[in-house]
């Protein structure tokens, strides 16, 4: 039986799988942040999403400002080295222009939620939160007795997104996804979800994937749709392809301070372009070239093979 071809375009993937009111995780810990997919969700005008991301990053600022998100599930509310997420802060501090519901954990709390979701477990224990105010802030962080006689321990509930969206270096057409560099909690966030969309820098032949199976973070059975989307993580980065656009992150802070400026930016850079290719064209070849990286390839490893099979293949 031929493996199904899961390659589609981003417009179709979002239209088919992301609907109003869904719980949607867009993961990638400072690396491989699926910006192109987030922008497509904005373009298609999705509403009332529960948006899950450990580090909301300025992608959250953009999606919240665009009116897509009614609830944020997260564990850090700043933009890396570049400062505050002012759209998030306006919502939380002043309900401006309207309130934002926030469900808050620590990083490992979020990781454990994805692990519970991915493994079909009712909860996941972790040795954090004793003495913290976080369980009072978020009553979903609960304490249970250790049935084996140890001290009580805090647990977090499973996170089961309707859709998880990721970006990666490469996949084959059937949806075997390979990534390298920081892999965060992407595998867990994907297995926790009902539906998984992955955008990739390039679609490669199945042989490429099969030459290095340890590099596969998601086998095709865990993936619903694959989209070829070069540059899909900008202004974050893709290891070995292009670096983080740190200047963009710094430029965002003053934009973020002014809601009108955010809406103007969305009009120009999201609604004003049909897709990522047009976005990159607009960004310009010079700026893109400035994000290039020098090569530092890994040494190939040898998986070996049965001698008989090798003779037959040659």
């Amino acid at each position: 039986m031929a493996t199904p071809d899961k390659v589609t375009d981003l417009t179709s993937a979002v239209a088919a799988h992301v609907r109003d009111g869904m719980t949607v995780a867009l993961e990638g810990f400072g690396h491989l942040i699926p910006f192109a997919a987030g922008h497509e969700i904005i373009r298609q005008g999705r509403r009332d999403l529960t948006f899950c991301r450990m580090t909301p990053d300025l992608l959250a600022d953009q999606m919240i400002a665009a009116g897509c998100v009614s609830k944020l599930v997260a564990s850090f509310f700043a933009s890396g080295s570049a400062g505050s997420l002012h759209e998030v802060r306006r919502r939380v501090e002043n309900a401006d222009p309207k309130p934002l519901e926030v469900e808050e954990y620590s990083h490992y709390g979020m990781v454990c939620r994805y692990q519970a979701g991915a493994s079909g477990l009712p909860f996941f224990p972790l040795r954090s939160y004793a003495g913290s105010d976080l369980p009072k802030l978020n009553p979903l962080i609960r304490k249970v007795a250790d049935p084996y006689g140890g001290p009580d321990i805090y647990v977090v509930p499973p996170l089961r997104p309707d859709v998880t969206i990721l970006h990666a270096q490469r996949a084959d057409r059937s949806g075997n996804v390979q990534m390298w560099g920081i892999v965060g909690a992407q595998q867990e966030a994907a297995y926790a979800a009902e539906t998984v969309i992955v955008t990739v820098e390039e679609i490669v032949e199945e042989d490429v994937v099969r030459s290095d199976p340890n590099r596969t973070v998601l086998p095709s059975h865990a993936v619903t749709a694959v989209v070829e989307c070069p540059g899909g993580a900008h202004p974050s980065y893709t290891q070995g392809h292009y670096d983080r656009d740190n200047a963009f992150y710094r430029e965002w802070t003053p934009i973020s301070r002014d809601r009108e400026a955010v809406l103007g930016w969305l009009e120009e850079w999201v609604h004003g372009v049909p897709d990522r290719e047009a976005y990159l064209d607009k960004l310009g070849a010079e700026r893109w070239a400035g994000l290039g990286v020098a090569p530092r390839p890994s040494q190939p490893v040898d998986f070996g093979r049965r001698r008989v099979a090798a003779q037959e293949a040659s």
Binding site: G30, S75, F77, S106, Y108, A130, G131, S132, N246
Partner: protein, 261 residues
């Protein structure tokens, strides 16, 4: 011959980074954050501890960056690292299992027990300022061997009698909740501020003034602290950075003054 000392101001980032770097003498594995800790670990690797292993919450172990990292997920930390682990492995196996000796943390507020607030200023329901939240600090605090906090302010707002919110609790607060739940780590051992170095020698004890920066008195430090802070018996003046340490920070580590202010 004595090593020439720098006259850089005690409240400067150069001074704070040099003091922070010296806390890494003899430590094996350090959980490094962004900002001043980035400078401190880099300086320590060039001076007091060339073999210190840098671990980042993004999953990177044994980083050997070829340039200054702008963030804990910077690609420069990945290239040439000994390992990049998934987050369940990093937080579960490396950190929670007890492989990290020192964690560097920042905070908006630190109390007398070394509990940290990185969540809210004002009421939780309607905060004056929404701060970044827990991140990995709530995990580093209980599980790292000890934590070093670098503060950019020393006043009763940053060192209050009571936190507006406790994000990352001291073992003292864990003990108050349930003595059996006291975590393996010491919690905050050292707080470096623009005025002083505060230390907490006992796991269930209070911070005390251990070192006072040049030009200041113990009374200056006490007056700027939000509670009646005790003074260590062997309190002394903080060692100034050397000229060489300041040169390394300015001319080799942070040439663009990304974190030096």
């Amino acid at each position: 011959m004595s090593t020439p000392l720098s006259d850089v101001a005690p409240a400067s980032t150069e001074f704070l980074a040099a003091v922070a770097a010296r806390q890494l003498v003899g430590k094996h594995r350090v959980f490094a954050g962004v900002g001043l800790p980035t400078l401190a670990v880099d300086l320590a690797r060039r001076t007091v501890n060339p073999d210190v292993e840098l671990v980042y919450e993004s999953g990177i172990c044994g980083a050997q960056p070829e340039g200054l990292a702008e963030g804990i997920a910077d690609s420069v930390l990945v290239s040439g690292a000994a390992a990049v682990l998934s987050m369940p492995a990093l937080f579960g196996y490396v950190l929670q299992r007890g492989h990290v000796d020192v964690g560097f943390l920042g905070a908006a507020q630190v109390d007398r027990w070394g509990s940290l607030n990185t969540s809210f200023i004002g009421d939780w329901d309607k905060p004056t300022v929404r701060l970044p939240g827990a991140g990995g600090a709530a995990e580093i605090m209980p599980n790292a061997g000890e934590c070093v906090v670098v503060l950019r302010r020393h006043d009763p707002g940053a060192l209050p009698a009571e936190l507006d919110f406790c994000t990352s609790p001291s073992p003292v607060r864990a003990h108050q909740e349930d003595p059996r739940m006291v975590p393996p780590g010491h919690g905050v051992s050292t707080v470096i501020t623009p005025m002083a170095v505060l230390r907490r020698p006992d796991k269930l004890g209070e911070l005390e003034i251990s070192e006072v920066h040049p030009g200041l008195t113990v009374d200056d430090v006490r007056a700027a602290t939000g509670w009646d802070i005790p003074v260590a018996e062997d309190v002394r003046e903080t060692d100034r950075p050397t000229v060489e340490e300041v040169r390394l920070l300015r001319d080799e580590i942070d040439t663009v003054r990304l974190y030096l202010r």
